[in-house]
Subunit: 658 residues, 2 copies
């Protein structure tokens, strides 16, 4: 670390953030000046004295991570990244804050610009994602020593700490003792509606302490206090929470400290007054050379650190292993999967797809060292644990299995953080019905394009007695609605193996597996080289001659469709069966394949869920056998009968079309 | 309160719960014996010495509420309700636990049996819903004094306290000082995966204290300690958290204290051993007369309390007002709304539908005293506050507006609790994109059939600069997927007024309003008696002669469709425009109306969202102008251009069909 600048210098560095913020928000005529101006001093001390990163190599694996959980304060990040010299964040980007076609989106968007570690804005999730990053750091450190030894810094606001996911995040981080996680709370006591005492009385320091955190309080405008706290944070083995008492909109003489400064431009008059108050006599978007140089010095320090690290990597006996892990190459899976599929073809196991998922995972986890498994306290139900995967525990991060606790949202956000860290591929389980709890993180995975794998079992009324609260009915449709999410609902062990191949090969799309609780027969009984599920839908059972009807089904209902085809064959009706594990992948096939697969005959769709979304493969006059409302509590077979999802009903629906 | 029974009596009363639980789970061959057996002593003391309710009048407004937040322990509730003598919970129901057609569903389902105050199972939500009940209690007390003066008792497990929503719930309850809320934590240190120390280290007592709660710890098998704590809870002005240290599966000599007893039958051998250990020498489902009598005594005490309360009501000067509130009759709205609509027809305001929602709410809140408004810290954006609605504050519950804080899920669950309490009709706002955060509570409202009103503004890319994290794209589809939820997306001030009429008239269906950020012109410019939106979709602009094309749009895109129709008219193409504020309501109309409305001409659908769900009104060859992926950050009008949702593109799509 270089020698600290004087306080006066750091205030000027911070004022550069303030000026860029107020000018950019004014130019956009929209945005949030309050937080960046309030937290500018904290951020400046953090970057100036502590953070190590190299703007010329934004993907350097051992960089410190900076997560702006309070994403509405995006100008804080853009201003800093501009000042640090990221080559894609020139002043023109700041001048065009929040404009279409620029990198400076209203909230920081992962992938839009370098140095944005995670998309933030949906409150609390930056913090929860950072927990995954800090976990990944410890996992990496346990494997590679000082090749991975960095900090994860989070700026969080009142909103982040009010959101429920913050509880899941801090509980997990405190439990695991993620000592390289530091949360800086912008304690400005202002929310959109007014003072925070309109809606909260929680003692945040006591709350974090209760979760096992190291807790400190500072004046967020006192550089020495901030620096001392950050030093203490780095020394303490626990995650650290620093409450930074700040004045929102600091520097704006007439507006600071009030809720009007949170999310609206200051206006020309107040901006002029702020320039005077801050003694900042520079034009809009003009940064004096000495201040620019002070920020660039941080970047040079980081570049030197990366150069040193490169030497460490070159000298490391674990360097090759490290690089291999980072590549996340699924190729080693191919041979093992071929053997496994041959065995499946021979054995034809009748097992639930959650069980065949575990069987496939045995192969995956043995072949691919970069997977990190877990479950939201449903390990024995989701069947996400495989042989030899030791649990990740406080003080021992050598394992590969995380007991995420009863925290579906926190787990999913943490998995996104692990995926973003670039060393590991996370997968984690819960019941499909509780995808609703995790949904905001599933959406963010899709928006960011990170290949998190969501293992969702008990995927229909087939879960039986737990009843409608636990039975997905609309859940598949609601997940298929999310852009850039691949939903896979395999029908047997072979398709489940293929689903895991698809998941491990995915690089920019999260994958969600919907798996049955109940046993399902082997329907794919030959081992094939091609991954048929990768086409989304395919003819599982064809007819001789011309099709009379096409039955299309997914997951556990493919068995029903196959039996219905038998019934129809008894009547001399030629019914083809299309297995459709993924509507998204099918939609990506060319028209010729889609037309050939679906055929021109009347169609019957079968899924123990609502029809919405099925119009991807059904026409208005086709039939659908499925659910029209919520489920019920009872044994699974009774429920299938009760709701009319049976081979006989499918056959009836087919006959009605002929 | 009657004189306490001796300890020995209460242990026998509790053992009745244990025996019924283990026998019912065994008969079902599925279920969760661990929690009911572990918490039987706590529940017995609670009911025997404190709870006041009358099984013969389960809807008595001033009954104490008992919420089994750990819903998987449903047998605890069923056993108690059987023992108390609820007339729909005979022993046959318990013998058929978890069977189709019986009231004893796997998890307690509101409406399936008397004495089930809320559907539980999705963890944490029982607690969060109870916060709404406890808030409703204080609101009622502020208005009606001792007509509403009861307690809300919650049994919560480790899962409830790990879920993020628990944080939102306890933070809000602690802030508001909901002193009649008592949470009994089943501190058994066991989760499904194993010991709780696999995944949590939080000091729950310290955590609740940090949120402003009164905190106590007891031995959950010591009746005197439990009773003392409950007495202290009732005396303290704060909400109370009682950590009850229990042994999961208490009484099963070889299985208690382990995670195997959480969710599986004990087995015949262990059941026999448990009978011996508990000295319970009765046949399965057989309850000795003295134990039954002890439980019935509780019911008689409640019946007497209710009789006394009826006298109080009869004597109360506020009795009529109280009864009127409970009826929640929307009739007084009719005249005021007619006036308001006439004014709209005259003024033709060009305002955002979030603004016209506020305008309509001014009418609603003035006419209907039973509404309770609020927002998740977006009051100025959601425009949910109207004149004269004072905020609900700690110590002052006379207001009608709740600052729920940045807690979308907690707000929504609390609103469900308010609705379930039967005195008030809650509505609350957030951004539509954050329906994802609230989704588990929206689903539960739909499943329970409670008429909570969700006010969701900023309903498309029309929100502009905040960008894709804040822009709903798949959200409308995902909400329309939920059974028994009415989604309304009005196109102008008149439709918004109609939407509020629909919301206030709904009794068993939650209503979600999707409202624009951006201004929209008046398209319905005559005041009509009939509520046209109530039909879900209707012809807004008809053609002379035969239609060439039908343009169907919702919300902010109806304006675009109208302009497109103008463009087409310029080419001599006769385009009708159908406004479709609610697909659900349209789906409930008869076929003749639907056919007449949609017509037989080619159709173009327009919505700034994905196409999924539109096949309710579009055929495969029809066109759709909307979104295919996530949005972007920029001014709204630029985004509409960028994504091709314009009058010109709609007209092009129409021409392409002709």
């Amino acid at each position: 670390m270089n020698a600290p600048l004087t306080l006066a210098d750091e205030r000027r560095m911070a004022n550069a953030i303030r000026a860029l913020t107020m000018d950019a928000v004014q130019a956009a005529n929209s945005g949030h000046p309050g937080m960046p101006m309030g937290m500018a001093d904290v951020a400046t001390v953090l970057f100036n004295r502590f953070i190590t990163l190299d703007p010329s190599a934004p993907d350097w694996p051992n960089r410190d991570r900076f997560v702006l959980s309070a994403g509405h304060g995006s100008m804080l990040l853009y201003a800093i990244n501009h000042l640090l010299g990221y080559d894609d964040m020139d002043i023109d980007q700041l001048r065009n804050f929040r404009q279409l076609g620029y990198r400076t989106a209203g909230h920081p968007e992962y992938g839009h610009a370098k140095g944005i570690e995670v998309t933030t804005g949906p409150l609390g999730q930056g913090l929860a994602t950072a927990v995954g990053m800090a976990l990944s750091e410890r996992l990496g450190n346990a494997r590679f020593g000082d090749l991975i030894d960095h900090f994860v810094y989070v700026i969080a606001g009142d909103g982040c700490l009010m959101e429920g996911v913050s509880h899941e995040a801090i509980d997990l981080a405190g439990h695991l003792g993620l000592g390289h996680l530091v949360v800086l709370w912008d304690d400005n006591r202002i929310t959109i509606d007014g003072d925070t005492d309109l809606s909260t009385s929680t003692d945040q320091a006591a709350r974090f302490a209760a979760a096992g955190w190291h807790v400190l309080k500072v004046d967020g405008h006192d550089a020495a206090e901030i620096a001392e706290a950050l030093s203490a944070a780095r020394r303490d083995p626990r995650p650290t929470f620093i409450a930074c008492r700040t004045i929102i909109g600091f520097g704006a003489p007439n507006k600071q400290g009030g809720h009007d400064v949170h999310g609206a431009p200051l206006g020309a008059e107040e901006i002029a007054a702020t320039r005077t108050a801050l003694a900042w006599d520079h034009s809009p978007f003009d940064i004096p050379a000495d201040v620019r140089e002070a920020w660039r010095k941080i970047a040079r320090r980081g570049a030197q650190a990366r150069a040193d690290w490169n030497k460490t990597l070159a000298a490391s006996s674990r360097g090759a292993q490290f690089e291999a892990l980072r590549r996340a190459d699924p190729a080693p899976l191919a041979a093992a999967m071929a053997d496994y599929k041959a065995k499946l073809a021979a054995d034809r196991p009748k097992v639930a797809t959650r069980k065949s998922s575990q069987m496939a995972l045995e192969v995956v986890n043995a072949a691919l060292p970069f997977t990190i498994g877990g479950s939201a306290d449903l390990t024995g139900s989701n069947l996400t644990l495989t042989k030899g995967l030791a649990p990740v525990r406080p003080g021992d991060f050598s394992g590969r299995y995380v007991h995420y606790g009863i925290r579906e949202f926190g787990m999913s956000a943490a998995m996104n953080g692990i995926a973003l860290s670039g060393l590991f591929r996370p997968y984690g389980g819960t019941f499909l019905a509780f995808a609703d709890y995790a949904r905001p993180a599933i959406r963010l995975a899709a928006l960011m394009g990170v290949p998190t794998v969501f293992v969702m079992t008990h995927d229909s009324i087939g879960l039986g007695e737990d009843g409608p609260t636990h039975q997905p009915v609309e859940t598949l449709a609601s997940l298929r609605a999310i852009p850039n999410l691949t939903v896979l609902r395999p029908c047997d062990a072979m398709e489940t193996a293929e689903a895991w191949e698809i998941a491990m090969a995915s690089t920019t799309t999260p994958v969600l597996l919907a798996l049955s609780r109940q046993n399902l027969p082997a329907l794919r009984t030959t081992a094939e080289t091609a991954n048929r599920s990768a086409r989304g839908a395919y003819v599982l059972r064809d007819v001789e001659g011309v099709r009379d009807v096409t039955l299309i089904a997914t997951g556990s209902e493919v068995e029903i469709a196959m039996k219905a085809a038998d019934l129809l064959a008894g009547d001399g009706i030629r019914a083809a069966v299309v297995s459709a594990p993924s509507f998204e992948l099918f939609g990506q096939q060319d028209r010729a394949y889609r037309t050939e697969t679906l055929g021109t005959a009347p169609r019957v769709g079968v899924e123990a869920a609502i029809r919405m979304g099925w119009d991807a493969v059904l026409r208005p006059d086709d039939r659908f056998v499925g659910m029209t409302g919520f489920g019920a509590s009872g044994p699974a077979d009774r429920l299938y009968d009760h709701f009319g999802i049976t081979d006989a009903k499918v056959a009836d629906a087919a006959r009605a079309l002929l």
